[in-house]
Amino acid sequence: MPLDPHVKRFLKMLAAGGIPEVSELTPAKMRQAILRLARAVDAKDIPIGKTENRELSGLGAPLRVRVYIPAPINSDKTGGIVYFHGGAGVFCNIETHDGLCRMLANESGCRVISVDYRLAPEHQFPAAVEDSCLATKWVSDHALELGIDPERIAVGGDSAGGTLAAVVCHIAKQAGAPRLALQVLFCPVTDVSANSDSHKAYAERYFFDRATMEWALKHYCPPGVDLEDPRLSPLRTADLTGLPAAQIHTAEFDPLRDEGKAYADRLRRAGVNVRYTCHEGMIHHFYAMAGILPYARLAIRAAGTAIKEALA
C-alpha cells in the first residue's frame, strides 16, 4: 500500500521543517518539543464519562496515574486496561496520550489507567519496568474499588510502552500474579538490538527514525546493560508459553514493524491466542495522531471493539 495521504502530508511537513537535529537535543528540550507536537496532532475534546488523577506510593516518589471512566458511569464492573504510553522511555507522558486513552476507554467500554512511569535519563532502565509492575499490581489489588472486574484486566501500551506491557506479562507469569487477561501492543519495541528489513527501509524520513531511536536508547540504558535482556527486548525471552492473549498492532512504514510481527509470530507458536494487525499506509505513532489522521480514529475504534470482545 502507498502511504496514507494524510500521513504523506505530515511527512512532507516534517521534511519541509528541516533535518531534525535530534542528537543536539537534551531530553528536556525533546520532551517539550514532543508535548507541543502532541497538542497539534492528538485527538482533542474527546468526551469521556470522567477522569481521575491518583497518586500511588511509588518507589522513592509518588507514581501518578490517570483513570479514564467511560460513560455510562454506574456500579457495573467493567474491564480495565493498565496503559503505558510510548516515548522511548525518555519522553511523552499522560498528556501526550490523553486523546488516545479517552478513545480507548470509550471504544472498549473499559476503565483505562494511564501510568506516568519514571523516565530516563533521570531514572534509567529498569525504573520504568518497576513502575509498570507496581501500577499493574495496584490496579489488580484495587480492582473492585476502581469499578473493575479483576478477571478482566488487560495491559496495553505503544512503542516503548508496548514493551512495558509485554514485560509486565512476563513478570506476572513468573510471579503467578497479578492475573492478566489480555495484552494490547501498538507498534511495540520487542528487540532493541534488531536490524530488520523495516529498520533499514524506514531508518529516515518516516518520523520515528534511527537517529532518535539511538539517541533515546543511549539515555534509557545505563552503561553496560545487556541489550538482549528480555525486559528490554521481550522477543529475546526463551519461553513465551502461558502468556495472556495478545492483540498486536504494527504500522506498515514503521521501523518497528518487523519486530512487532516477529513477536506476534513467536507468541502464536508458543500457543498464545494472538490477533495481529498491520496498519497499511501508516507510520509509527499514528494511533496518537488522530487529530490529523482520520484513519487513526477508525483504527482505535476497531482496536477498542476487539478489546471489548476479548474481555467480554
Partner: protein, 87 residues
C-alpha cells in the same frame, strides 16, 4: 471578535508569535526573518504549519508544503493569501 475582520497577514503574525512564545523565544521578529535561524526546530515548523491550517481552516496542498513557503512571516502570508484567493 470575528477573526475574519483581521487581515490574513496579521493573523499569520499572531500564529507565528504563538509558536515562538511556546518556545520561549522572545526576541523581536521581523516579517523577513528566517524562522529556522531564529531557533524553530523541524518539529516546531510542523506545529507552525498545522497551526496555520487550523487558524485559516484550510489544508495546505502538498505541493505548497516547502521550506521556501515557510521561511518567514512574509512568505507564509503570501502563501495563505494565495490559498484563500483560490477558494
Amino acid at each position: 471578535m470575528d477573526r475574519s475582520s483581521i487581515s490574513p497577514g496579521n493573523r499569520v503574525v499572531e500564529v507565528v508569535h504563538r509558536v515562538l512564545t511556546e518556545r520561549s523565544i522572545s526576541r523581536p521578529v521581523s516579517s523577513h526573518d528566517d524562522l529556522r535561524t531564529i531557533g524553530l526546530t523541524s518539529l516546531d515548523m510542523v506545529n507552525l504549519m498545522l497551526s496555520v491550517e487550523a487558524e485559516f481552516d484550510l489544508e495546505i496542498p502538498e505541493v505548497d508544503i516547502t521550506p521556501a513557503n515557510f521561511r518567514s512571516i512574509s512568505t507564509i502570508s503570501t502563501l495563505v493569501s494565495d490559498l484563500l484567493n483560490k477558494v
